[in-house]
């Protein structure tokens, strides 16, 4: 059982949860993730550690309320406990001085990007950040990312903040301006990572992506998270989560991510109905 020290909504449907987990706070390295089990019958949800405080023994998780499990977890309150947290899992990011690193965060993907960008800055890289979101309200960790970046850009789908367009438009501009880019680090929806990788491949810019495939155990035992990288099947949980974006088969990943869509929708619908029954006055969650 892990004590929830704090939980708050940092953007619509995006929650930040601080857990008391001293050992994980001490052992975690940038790029690694944990599996969170909210309740005894809950599923194992892979989440990246967005931040940590080893002195206080705390880890920060950021998650989007998409399905039943994440929505249910979002309803937890300070002082309650989540059933279990397992980790740290996956390989840590290889941190070194590349030169100029473009850090691209799409939506809630900024959460896993942040600790990596922070480390990349610490070792002396020039950090250019591009954050993308559907609209101005959906950015997270804006202040934190801005603070560590040498250059900072934003894009929105609806033009309510920054450039009206996609992160790839901003990246394209940098490339066309002839900027030297030594590494692109892109974390966000698979479709975003796909198009970033296609663009950088054209220009031969090394690109790292962090994949968010479906997982069960997260320890290499089941293979649910398998993905084709350069034609070879890899397990995201133990071989990743980071891979060379130019080699990832994103179309396969996108299909695999949708495997349980109908069942997820069904579970969510049932959950929302039950929630409405519990709160006949039409509580704030519905």
């Amino acid at each position: 059982m892990y004590l929830i020290k704090d939980i708050e909504e940092i953007a619509p449907k995006i929650k930040k949860m601080v857990l008391k987990a001293p050992l994980l706070a001490k052992k975690h390295r940038a790029g690694q993730f944990v599996m969170v089990i909210n309740t005894e019958k809950g599923e194992r949800i892979p989440l990246t550690i967005a931040d940590k405080n080893p002195e206080k023994g705390e880890i920060t998780l950021i998650f989007q309320e998409i399905g039943k499990s994440t929505m249910e977890m979002g309803l937890r309150t300070k002082g309650e406990h989540v059933y279990d947290v397992v980790g740290p899992l996956g390989k840590p990011t290889h941190i070194e001085k590349y030169g100029t690193v473009v850090c691209i965060g799409g939506g809630v993907g900024t959460a896993p990007l942040y600790p990596i960008a922070k480390k990349m800055k610490e070792v002396g890289n020039h950090i250019i950040t591009i954050l993308g979101a559907r609209n101005k309200d959906l950015f997270i960790l804006e202040k934190e990312m801005k603070a560590l970046s040498d250059e900072f850009y934003q894009t929105t789908d609806d033009g309510t903040k920054g450039r009206h367009g996609l992160v790839t438009d901003e990246l394209k501009r940098l490339i066309e301006e002839g900027r030297e880019i030594d590494l692109v680090l892109a974390i966000g929806p698979a479709i975003m990572m796909k198009f970033v990788s296609l663009l950088t491949k054209e220009h031969n810019i090394p690109t790292m992506v962090s994949l968010n495939s479906i997982m069960v155990d997260g320890t290499g035992m089941c293979g649910a998270c398998r993905v084709s990288v350069g034609g070879i099947t890899k397990f995201v949980c133990v071989d990743g989560p980071e891979f060379d974006g130019h080699k990832v088969n994103f179309d396969e990943l996108l299909k695999r991510q949708a495997m349980y869509k109908d069942m997820e929708e069904m579970a969510l619908k049932k959950f929302l109905e039950e929630l409405r029954e519990k709160e006949p006055c039409g509580g704030h969650h519905a």
Partner: protein
């Protein structure tokens, strides 16, 4: 004084075990074999010849005094039967259910030469279940504390056995389990209908009563390395029993289509994560109307029978050799057939065919014939040229074996490994690293529960010796 007189009845036929009827059990996850009643157990016990030089014991990897415990059952002294078993085997309720007795004790039973062997496994299960159901508190004989600490990595059959044996010797034991529930393959792999999870829980509780500490969700190689356990966490010895958790795939086209599972994933979703209760439990599992399981071992049978219980209408086992070579236990094959499983033998998949949305729609196979025996002594399957055929399926489950999980070996390069990451040990269960022992599937690459237990037990004896003498040579 015995409660009953021993009445030898060697000529009586083997006592059948009551079972759920196939048409009923196809729809539920309850145990298939219901177990002997006291009367049936006594009746079966009387068939034992009580040999002076019992061969059955030779066939048992942990050397149980088989005629001894059977005698106690025949005499109605069930509690004594239980303690006789416990002297040799710390998990009799589990072994009575999942041991391949037909290849071990029962194979050697003299009765089997002319009639059917004594149903040793069923009697073992009876004695263990009887004790659990009696609600009696178990007596433990635990030696005074030694002040030594041992870390056991993995809470499967090898780890649980090793922990139990060492706790008896007075050592402080901490088990580290990667998953959120203890039991390893007994919990994530073997289905409820073959091994009720309640039984595993009872056994784990007993270890806790003996003072064993269990840390779940603790992944060695990530949370701690073995070096950290030995140096920073002050453990005096470490036992690695991390099992064969890495699923193998065939490397054929279409394996990453939606609807293709490893048996590990499929069974973990259902057994550990309770996907059969979805949406009451949060983890989903997809099962189509036509399911094909690739492989012929016990895991394959577990997977296909689970698929039937989840509603599969057509259930196939695809196996490249003939029925005679099927590695699964006879009983499992028999149960699978009763439940409607169709064996597609001498058949090997060559490709999984998908639809435009990336879902499985068919399996392409090739017919095989048997050639000369290979290294394993089984006749080698050879593809028959031009015999490819396709048939429609919605779900494909790969049950072609699994290998050792590489997490520990990656972080501890001073532990010597053999081919496929199998940890190398000597005859005493010692690895190449001082103070570190190993046993179970991590050293065999994938075998049975009882063999893993046997290795856990043997390693416990050498760990105890090492802790007392400090000798490592």
């Amino acid at each position: 004084m015995p409660d009953r007189k021993w009445i030898p009845q060697p000529k009586k036929p083997r006592t059948p075990i009551p079972e759920q009827k196939p048409e009923e059990r196809r729809k539920n996850f309850k145990e298939v074999a219901l177990g002997y009643t006291e009367e049936l157990a006594i009746e079966e016990a009387y068939r034992c010849l009580q040999c002076k030089n019992p061969l059955c014991i030779e066939g048992c990897p942990v050397g149980i005094d088989i005629p001894g415990f059977i005698r106690h059952i025949g005499e109605g002294r069930f509690e004594e039967a239980y303690y006789t078993l416990k002297k040799y085997n710390s998990l009799p309720a589990i072994c009575g259910r999942v041991c391949p007795q037909e290849d071990q004790c029962e194979e050697k039973c003299i009765m089997g030469k002319r009639f059917k062997p004594v149903a040793i496994g069923r009697l073992e299960r009876f004695a263990a279940d009887w004790f659990i159901q009696s609600g009696k508190k178990e007596r433990y004989e635990i030696e005074p504390p030694t002040g030594k600490k041992v870390a056991i990595i993995g809470s499967g059959p090898a780890g649980l056995t090793c922990a139990g044996e060492l706790a008896k010797k007075g050592h402080k034991i901490v088990i580290f389990e990667a998953l959120h529930k203890p039991g390893g393959v007994l919990v994530y792999g073997i289905p409820e209908f073959r091994l009720p999870k309640k039984i595993v829980e009872v056994e784990v509780e007993k270890l806790k009563e003996m003072g064993v500490e269990i840390k779940t969700s603790a992944i060695i190689g990530k949370l701690y390395t073995i070096d950290e356990l030995l140096k920073e966490e002050s453990f005096d010895a470490v036992f690695i029993g991390t099992g064969a958790g890495l699923p193998y795939f065939m490397g054929i086209k279409g394996e990453n289509l939606n609807g293709v599972y490893s048996a590990n994933e499929f069974l973990t979703r259902v057994n550990l994560m309770k996907a059969y209760m979805f949406p009451e439990a949060d983890t989903p599992v997809k099962i189509g109307e036509r399911v094909a399981v690739i492989g012929g071992g016990n895991t394959a049978m577990d997977a296909i029978r689970t698929a039937i219980r989840l509603g599969a209408k057509e259930a196939y086992i695809i196996y490249r050799r003939s029925e005679k070579e099927l590695p699964a236990r006879e009983e499992e094959i028999h149960h699978a057939k009763e439940e409607g499983v169709i064996l597609k033998l001498l058949t090997n998949p060559v490709e999984i065919i998908g639809d435009k949305n990336g879902w499985v729609k068919a399996l392409k196979c090739i017919k095989m014939k048997l050639g000369e025996p290979d290294d394993s002594g089984r006749r080698r399957p050879i593809p028959i040229e031009g015999s490819e055929f396709e048939f429609p399926v919605d779900t494909v489950i790969m049950a072609i074996g699994q290998g050792p999980n590489p997490l520990i070996q990656e972080t501890q390069p001073d532990i010597e490994v053999k081919k496929w990451g199998i940890i190398k040990i000597d005859e005493e269960g010692r690895t190449s690293k001082k103070g570190v022992f190993a046993g179970g599937d991590i050293v065999t690459g994938g075998a049975t529960v009882i063999l893993a237990m046997g290795q856990g037990k043997r390693a416990a004896a050498s760990i105890d010796r090492y802790l007392k003498t400090g000798e490592w040579k």
